[in-house]
C-alpha cells in the first residue's frame, strides 16, 4: 500500500516536472490564502507559457518575517498598503515602475498615487476593501452599523462572536469605537481601550481566521470581518449582513509587488501588467469578492456584484488607510495584545 502511494506520488511529480520543462519560465507567487482565482493563473500560464507556483500566508507579518528571513524563492508577494511602505523602506522590493507599464492607464485615479507608494513605482493594485463587521441578522435585529456589536455586544450575540487575530485591525477598531486617534501612544486612552477589550473578551467565542464558513453554518453569529469575506458568507446564508460602523472603519488595499531578490523578474513584471487589464482584474474580484481598483473591470462582473452592499459603502463612509505606527506604539500594542490573549 505504502509503496503504491509512493509510486503514485513519484509518477505525479514526473508529470508535473515534464510540464515545467516545456514552459518558458517560472513564477513563484506568495499570496494570502484562498485569495487567488485559479482561472486567472491558468490564463496567465497559457498567455505567456509560464509555470506558476502559488504559496500562501495568513498575515502581512508572517509574510514579512518569511521574506526577511531570506531563502524563500518567491518572486511576487501581495502586501497590504502599510506593509508596502514598510517593505520599500526595508529595501525588500524591486522598483519595477508599473507607472510606465502599458496597462497602468486602467488604474482608478483614486488608487494611482497612494500614500504607501507615491506614483506607483513598485506596486500594482490587487484588491481593496474595508474592515468592519458581519452579523447574522436573524439572531440580532438591532443596529449593526456600530462597533458596539463587538466591544459591548448585545445579549443575543454574547458568546457567538469571532474576532480575527489581527492586532492592528482590532486595536484600531477599539480606538475608533472610543473616538480616540489611531496610532495612539496616549497611555490613559490605551488603558481605557485595554480595559474595554479585556471585558469584551468574555463575550467572544473565538479569535481565529476563517469567518466565511463559520458565519454561514452558524458556528458564529457576528465577527470582525472584511467586506468580501462577508459577501461570500452572505451568498451562502442570506441572513449575514455587513455593518459599516459609524465610528469609522479601516480601508485597506493589497498590492502586487516584485521582491528585490526575485529570480524571475521579467515574468513578474508581465504579471503586474497582466492584472491591470480590466478583464483579468475582474477575474480576481470574481473569486475573492473584493473590488480591485481597476477602472472598467465592473462590466466583466455580474450586476449583483457591482451593486452589492458589501461593495458599495453608505454615504458616511470615508476611506482611511491603515498607517504604520511608530515602534513605541507598536510595542505597547503588542503588550496589550499578549495580555489580552494570555
Amino acid at each position: 500500500m505504502k509503496r503504491l502511494i509512493i509510486s503514485a506520488v513519484v509518477g505525479l511529480g514526473l508529470v508535473v516536472g515534464s510540464g515545467a520543462a516545456m514552459a518558458d519560465g517560472e513564477l513563484n507567487i506568495f499570496n494570502w490564502g484562498n485569495y487567488t482565482n485559479p482561472k486567472l493563473i491558468e490564463k496567465f500560464e497559457q498567455a505567456y507559457n509560464v509555470e506558476v507556483t502559488l504559496s500562501d500566508y495568513d498575515s502581512n507579518d508572517s509574510m514579512l518575517a518569511k521574506i526577511k528571513a531570506g531563502g524563500h524563492g518567491y518572486d511576487i508577494s501581495v502586501p497590504s498598503d502599510y506593509m508596502v511602505s514598510v517593505m520599500i523602506s526595508e529595501g525588500l522590493l524591486l522598483k519595477t515602475a508599473p507607472n510606465k507599464m502599458a496597462n497602468f492607464k486602467n488604474i482608478e485615479p483614486g488608487f494611482a498615487d497612494p500614500y504607501f507608494d507615491e506614483g506607483r513605482q513598485y506596486s500594482v493594485p490587487w484588491q481593496w476593501g474595508t474592515t468592519a463587521l458581519s452579523v447574522n441578522t436573524e439572531t440580532y435585529k438591532g443596529d449593526i452599523d456600530t462597533w458596539s456589536v463587538i466591544f459591548n455586544p448585545p445579549e443575543e450575540l454574547r458568546g457567538k462572536i469571532n474576532v480575527v487575530p489581527e492586532m492592528n485591525d482590532v486595536i484600531n477598531a477599539a480606538l475608533r469605537y472610543k473616538g480616540f486617534p489611531l496610532c495612539n501612544g496616549n497611555k490613559a486612552q490605551l488603558k481605557e481601550v485595554n480595559d474595554m477589550m479585556q471585558n469584551a473578551k468574555q463575550y467572544w467565542l473565538t479569535m481565529e481566521y476563517g469567518n466565511v464558513e463559520r458565519l454561514a453554518n452558524g458556528d458564529i453569529h457576528a465577527a470582525v470581518n472584511w467586506n468580501g469575506a462577508s459577501m461570500r458568507a452572505r451568498l451562502a446564508n442570506s441572513a449575514i449582513k455587513y455593518g459599516y460602523p459609524k465610528e469609522g472603519l479601516g480601508t485597506w488595499m493589497d498590492n502586487v509587488v516584485v521582491l528585490a531578490d526575485a529570480k524571475n523578474v521579467e515574468n513578474a513584471k508581465l504579471f503586474q501588467n497582466f492584472i491591470m487589464d480590466p478583464e483579468n482584474a475582474a477575474m480576481i474580484s470574481d473569486f475573492a469578492k473584493y473590488a480591485n481598483g481597476i477602472a472598467g473591470s465592473m462590466k466583466y462582473l455580474p450586476e449583483e456584484f457591482a451593486s452589492a452592499p458589501e461593495i458599495v459603502p453608505p454615504s458616511y463612509y470615508k476611506a482611511e488607510f491603515t498607517q504604520v505606527c511608530p515602534n513605541e506604539v507598536n510595542e505597547m500594542y503588542t503588550k496589550i495584545w499578549t495580555n489580552l490573549l494570555k
Partner: protein, 269 residues
Amino acid sequence: MLIVLLYSFLQKDTYAGIIWSFSWDGWFNVFLQEDIFDETVNIADAHLSIFLRSIRLSFFTTILTFIVGFPTAYFISTRPEKTRNIWLFMITIPFWTNLLIRTFAIMEIIRNEGVINTVLIASGLIDQPIQILYTDFAISLGLVYVYLPLMVLPLYASIEKLDFRLVEAGYDLYGNRWQVLRRIIFPLVKPGIIAGSILVFIPSIGAYVTPRLLGGGKSLMLGNLIEFQFGQGRNWPLGSSLSITLFILVMIALLFYIKITTKKGGERD
C-alpha cells in the same frame, strides 16, 4: 538552534528582523515587563500564565493518554501473537492522515452542529448544544487523540516483555487486582511508562496547530506565543528567547524523568 540562541541576545529591528548588537532585551522581556500604564517593572504575568497553561495542558494530556493508552496496550499485548500485529497496525492508522485533517475531523465531531451535539439533542438528553469546541477540554481531547499512539507503542513494547507468571504469582499470593497492577505490573513496565510520557509531554508543550484550531485562538499556548512574536509582534529576539525557554523546560522535564528512573532503579537492585 545556535542561530536562535544568537538571535535571542540581539536587538530587535523596527519591522521584524534583528540588529547586530548585543542586548538583554529579549531575555528581559521573557520574564519581566515594564507595565505599559504605570512604568513599573513587574513579572511578565502574561507570559507566565501562557507557560503555566501550556505545562498544565501537556501534563493533563500525558495523564489522559496514559489512562487510555495503558489498557489499550495491555489489551494488545495479551492477544494471541498472531493478531497482535493487526491491533498494532490499527493503532498506527491515524498516523497515515495529515495532522490538520485529523484536527478538522475532531472539530466536525464536537462542533455545536456536530455529531455529538446532534445525537444528544435528537435523543432529547439536552436541548441546547454543549460548547465543547474552543475550550481547554477540546485542546486536551485533540492532543490526546493525536499523541495516543506515542503512548501506546512504548507501553506495548514493555508489557509484551512482561513475564505473566509474575502476575499469576501475585494472584496466588492473594493480591487483589489493584495490588497486582500497582506492585507488580507498573514497576515492571516503568521504562515504557516513562518513555511514553516523555514522547507525549514534549510535543504537547510546543503544539501549535491543535491548540490554535480547537482552542479558538482566544488563549495562547507557548507555540502560538512564539509565532506571534516572530509575526505580528515583530520581535524576533523575544521570540527566540521564548523558544530557548521552551527548550530548557523540555530539558528539565527530561532530566527529571531520568532522575526518577535511575533512583528508583537503584533501590530495587
